[in-house]
């Protein structure tokens, strides 16, 4: 008999996330107010002609002027995935909860938080996009509609969280030697490969090229429904990886 | 009055000897209450089972009795009983080692008697 004790774990994780997100919103609001004030006071008549793009991959096609805060939240969720999984695993083990509960609770929390945050973003977008040049959704593709946009946004958050957790757990399970090699490889990729290749990759995605890689990438990322499926598949892959990794993860330090 | 924890004696024995001593000297009077097992084990940082074992030796000997829900009390006549017991043991416990020490110090029986008399004055 292995009775899971999910409720307290869920309560704990949701409590933490609600507080973290409220703080994030407060900070974001302060920044937005500051920027808006700056724009309206410092630029004369040209208000709104400012584009702040922080998204690693920016999906919006319109060349309009928006302050896009969505990507910041995506990154925040990603970092929560990295930090949260280890802290929660330790905390839960201290409180007599095993890895399966930790895993399931994290899965549910990431979906719940993702869905709620996406819903809030959709609503805020409805209100603010035209009024304040303020966009909340990290992704925003024409032809998806509100429900589709919400679903995609949810999945992006879910994927970001699970990817963070996957990286964290990978590090957790690696030996020191492998950790060093892995870290060097990642840094090398980010510093040298990404800046050179990112343009090529984006070109490849939108080039309608017919060669195999370009073709596949185009199919996966251009059609709205395909994007949803791709992100969902990536999220599920990370989730499965997390399950394999957390099952035998030792907690020592 | 503290129990003397002789490291070479079982703890429960130290407890029972301490309690007997306390009854004998009148710290716990007849029909008066003695500390509970919890109090004893907390005070001397010993396992409650050990304290119980020590106290039960006195219960078995009829020196103290339990009142349900109230605690443990010293039996009437416990002091007299202990006094008689100690008097019986006095020769073995005190006189014999005294004499053997006196012998090793080459103190004769007569000198020892003198000393005992001096002690009484």
């Amino acid at each position: 008999m292995n009775t899971l004790k999910l409720m307290p774990a869920l309560r704990y994780q949701l409590d933490y996330m609600v507080r973290a997100l409220l703080i994030a919103f407060a900070v974001m609001a302060a920044i937005v107010i500051f920027i808006s004030l700056f724009i309206t006071t410092a630029t004369f008549g040209d208000a709104g002609q400012v584009i702040i793009d922080i998204a690693p991959i920016n999906f919006h096609f319109e060349t309009s002027s928006f302050i896009n805060v969505g990507p910041i939240f995506t990154i925040m969720i990603f970092i929560t995935g990295i930090v949260g999984i280890r802290e929660d695993l330790r905390f839960f083990l201290q409180h007599g909860l095993g890895r399966k509960s930790t895993y399931l609770s994290t899965l549910l929390t990431s979906l719940l938080c993702g869905a709620t945050l996406a819903l809030v973003f959709e609503l805020l977008d409805l209100v603010f996009v035209n009024a304040l040049w303020l966009r909340f959704s990290a992704v925003n593709i024409s032809g998806l509609g509100y429900v589709g946009g919400w679903l995609l946004q949810t999945l992006v958050f879910f994927f970001a969280w699970q990817l963070g957790a996957l990286i964290s757990l990978l590090y957790y399970r690696m030996s020191t030697m492998v950790k060093v090699i892995f870290s060097v490889a990642i840094i090398a990729t980010v510093v040298f490969a990404v800046p050179r290749l990112i343009g090529d990759i984006i070109d490849l995605v939108f080039s309608n090229s017919s060669d195999m890689i370009g073709g596949t990438l185009s199919t996966l990322f251009t059609n709205p429904l395909n994007i949803i499926c791709t992100i969902l598949a990536l999220g599920i892959i990370c989730t499965l990886g997390n399950f394999m990794l957390i099952r035998r993860a030792p907690v020592v330090d | 009055m503290q129990p003397i924890f002789d490291p070479h004696k079982p703890i429960f024995q130290s407890i029972s000897e301490w309690l007997k001593g306390a009854i004998l000297t009148g710290i716990y009077e007849e029909e008066g209450q003695v500390p509970s097992i919890t109090e004893i084990s907390m005070q001397y940082k010993i396992n409650p089972a050990t304290a119980l074992k020590g106290v039960n030796q006195l219960v078995d000997a009829g020196l103290i009795y339990k009142k349900r829900g109230l605690g443990m009390f010293v039996s009437t006549g416990a002091r007299a009983q202990l006094l008689a017991q100690r008097q019986d043991q006095f020769f073995d416990d005190y006189v014999q080692p005294l004499v053997s020490e006196a012998k090793s110090l080459q103190i004769g029986a007569h000198d020892l008697k003198d000393m005992v008399e001096r002690g009484y004055q």
Binding site: N2, K5, H95, L97, V252 | P7, H8, M42, K45, P48
Partner: protein, 295 residues
């Protein structure tokens, strides 16, 4: 409820931390898990609470596998060396969450104990001193009302007064609400009176597992003139001996003989737990012999 540990082994790189350990923790008893630093005490407790995994062997709670089993883990509160609380959590929040996770957690008792020790409730756990970190863990452990309390070095960093308070409190809580307590420590003299059952662990192996009284009944000391003592010791299993001039003291393993069997001139004494432990630890040959025996 009984925790049954069977044939547990654990290896860290080049060290065998645990080597075929089999022990059982029964209901409502106070156990002492004694051993020097690095003997494998913490490793055993960490394996029981699924923090780390054994290389082989089984762990059962009433016959049910307890590895990463929430039902089993929730019966245990472990006071460990490491701090498993998030960096920003405050003491009072930790108490609140302990209540959410442990169904029988006594919040009022926790506040009362915290007050007795002057534990600041509003401070962050990570900002507490070593001593107060231990006190914080003690507060939660004693209020958890879990059927099993595993206390790994429960007086780490505590001063004499707080240690005294802790031991009294432990007994108070234990008599009010009996549970199984496992105290893992190398400070044997302090817990000698409290523990009922002794498990002595050395180099990853449990070398003694018996009620304290039986253990101490199985050894004694003899003191007397060297020549006389040496003669008597022939054929006896001597744990250790020391001499001061012509006077010699020996610790002997085995049942305590009757007074008549001891030649006059030799004085018999009982060993206390600490002496027994020290002698057991310093006794290399004996453990090697036992090791060979087991092979």
């Amino acid at each position: 409820m009984t925790i049954q540990v069977k044939d547990i082994s654990k290896r860290f790189c080049s060290t065998q931390a645990l080597d075929n350990v089999s022990v059982a923790f029964g209901e409502n008893k106070i156990y002492g898990l004694l051993g020097n630093n690095g003997a494998g005490k913490s490793t055993l407790l960490n394996i029981i609470t699924s923090r780390i995994f054994a290389d082989n062997g089984t762990l059962n709670l009433d016959g049910v596998n307890m590895v990463d089993n929430d039902h089993a883990l929730n019966q245990i509160y472990m006071l460990g060396e490491k701090n498993y609380y998030p960096e920003s959590m405050r003491v009072k929040d930790a108490l609140k969450w302990a209540q959410a996770f442990y169904p029988y957690f006594d919040h009022e008792l926790a506040l009362e104990i915290a007050q007795r020790f002057n534990l600041p409730l509003k401070k962050k756990i990570t900002a507490l001193s070593t001593g107060y970190t231990t006190i914080f863990k003690i507060v939660i452990a004693l209020s958890s009302n879990a059927p099993f309390l595993l206390l790994d070095e429960p007086v780490l960093g505590l001063d004499a007064q707080h240690r005294d308070m802790f031991y009294k409190l432990l007994i108070e809580c234990y008599t009010k609400n009996p549970c199984t307590i496992v105290i893992s420590t190398h400070l044997i003299a302090e817990v000698a009176g409290i523990i009922e059952h002794c498990m002595i662990i050395k180099d990853g192996r449990v070398i003694k597992d018996a009620p304290c009284e039986a253990l101490l009944h199985n050894g004694y000391t003899l003191t007397g003139p060297a020549a006389l003592l040496d003669e008597y010791l022939l054929g006896k299993q001597v744990l250790s001996h020391s001499s001061l001039g012509g006077l010699k003291t020996a610790s002997i393993s085995g049942a305590i003989p009757n007074a008549e069997e001891i030649p006059p001139g030799l004085e018999i004494g009982k060993m206390n737990l600490q002496e027994y432990f020290i002698q057991l630890m310093s006794d290399e040959n004996n453990s090697v012999a036992r090791f060979m025996e087991d092979q």
